[in-house]
Symmetry: C2
Amino acid sequence: MALVTIDDIFDAAARIDGLVLRTPLVGNQRLSEEFGTRLLLKAENLQHAGSFKVRGALNALLTWQERGELPEGVVSFSAGNHAAAISYAGRRLGVRVIVAMPSDPVPSKVANVERFGGEIVRTDDLAGTLDELAEQHGFPILHPFDLPEVIAGQGTTGLELCADGPSPDLVLVPVGGGGLLSGVAAAVRKLAPSARVVGVEPATSNAMGQALAAGEVVRIGNPSATVADGLSAPFSGEHTLPHVQAYVDEVVEVDEDAIRAAWRELVESSKLLVEPASAVCLAALRTGVVEAPEGGVTVLVVSGGNADLSRLG
Amino acid sequence: MALVTIDDIFDAAARIDGLVLRTPLVGNQRLSEEFGTRLLLKAENLQHAGSFKVRGALNALLTWQERGELPEGVVSFSAGNHAAAISYAGRRLGVRVIVAMPSDPVPSKVANVERFGGEIVRTDDLAGTLDELAEQHGFPILHPFDLPEVIAGQGTTGLELCADGPSPDLVLVPVGGGGLLSGVAAAVRKLAPSARVVGVEPATSNAMGQALAAGEVVRIGNPSATVADGLSAPFSGEHTLPHVQAYVDEVVEVDEDAIRAAWRELVESSKLLVEPASAVCLAALRTGVVEAPEGGVTVLVVSGGNADLSRLG
């Protein structure tokens, strides 16, 4: 299977230019001092619709439009961020969006989808409902992570973090289905070849780790609940797995207590509202499962900000 | 009394360059759509020590150092942000910092001061305790707002917001003692002469409004409690009042319910952790006491991010 290249990512960047925010790379002095590394946050929580997901969604729809294949509607599944992103992109391009979401989603994520006119179908079987929706409506699937166009779009996050700051020595990326990790790793591998790229996933929702161990995609069904709801993918992808195998140094796991503690710490120290999924990278540093390069540059990709405020207090 | 000029602010910017963050001007699409204006946030919550206050603190100490008058220690009073800022600046320059703070401060603000080695004296009489500390230690007062060097330092916030974004039509600034408003207004008046500059203060802590009405400084003693703790100044200043009279179009008030609602809304829509004091500007737009320029550019100065997370939920 052909992997997404740096040229695909540059093309994606040109395609979505002006439609997405070039989010800031925010320094974090407190964490930098504590870890003895220059720690920077790529703040995709500030992105339109509240997460990096608009990058891939827009790149996919615009690519289809260029080919004269823009559909009337698309279907997908999502914990919420991809749903909001494709709703956002769909509204922009006049494409109807129908998306399967968990039966107990984060309320702010539902509001975010509805704000952009997306249609939500709640379900306890995301993958099954997706297939039903695709058949029922005859719309193509705009997959949350397992499409080359989506991976290339998410990769623009990696382009920007390499271009806008000092050359990174370590890049940490949250992992659900692996779309963000695949794209960022493809970009960083080329633009900062000596950097380590490490993916971090919740121990209770480790589809990528299981796939790497098995050497093939593993369907873990509905993963156990994780506070990092954005990372509860039921499987890694046929496309994302080979990208991770080719471009990523390591995928590690963190437990729920570590994610919860890191979530509060990241919000308080960075002054950014981030969602729990974005805290797994700090949790990996805190638990010591990943070591920060002393005197080097560490970039944490902050994937989104659609958090439930009532759970922060 | 001579007012701070644009040249003083440019000098301050050169003096503190590299020691403060040039904070991003963050777009807010949701609020922009709702108010029909291009709404931008000058995100000083991301500043070192969590607020704009380091600008003035560093400019004052560095100015004194240039004159060969750097003291061994300084005293001051503060709800917490100025205390953290002078502790930060003091640590940098080897100056001891002793600061009077309210007896029931926001816990994260205490932690912030202690982190930088500041010494806290808790009191219910900030102004009285300040005088005692100054006499006891023989240290000069590094006033939280009523010093030209502090006003010029805070004014660098105004320089940056004019330089880094589209020319503003309206700039909204939170008001406690008026140091930030004075400095920002001095900068904006010169760099974007047609912009309206409006200060916003809590109705329960309106020292500046009272001073403007009376035409002189009014000591309101200890102001009533406001959720916007950073704005509870016991008086406007001998220096800040004439700046506001000369440079500011209007100072308006917002009530506590409006501040609380705006606080949550600002955090959720911006994905920035801001403190309640920073929400008064959005409260002013929401209550209609200030109207956003339709089709124009509105900048809200987000003063700080040292918030108590447990009160957000």
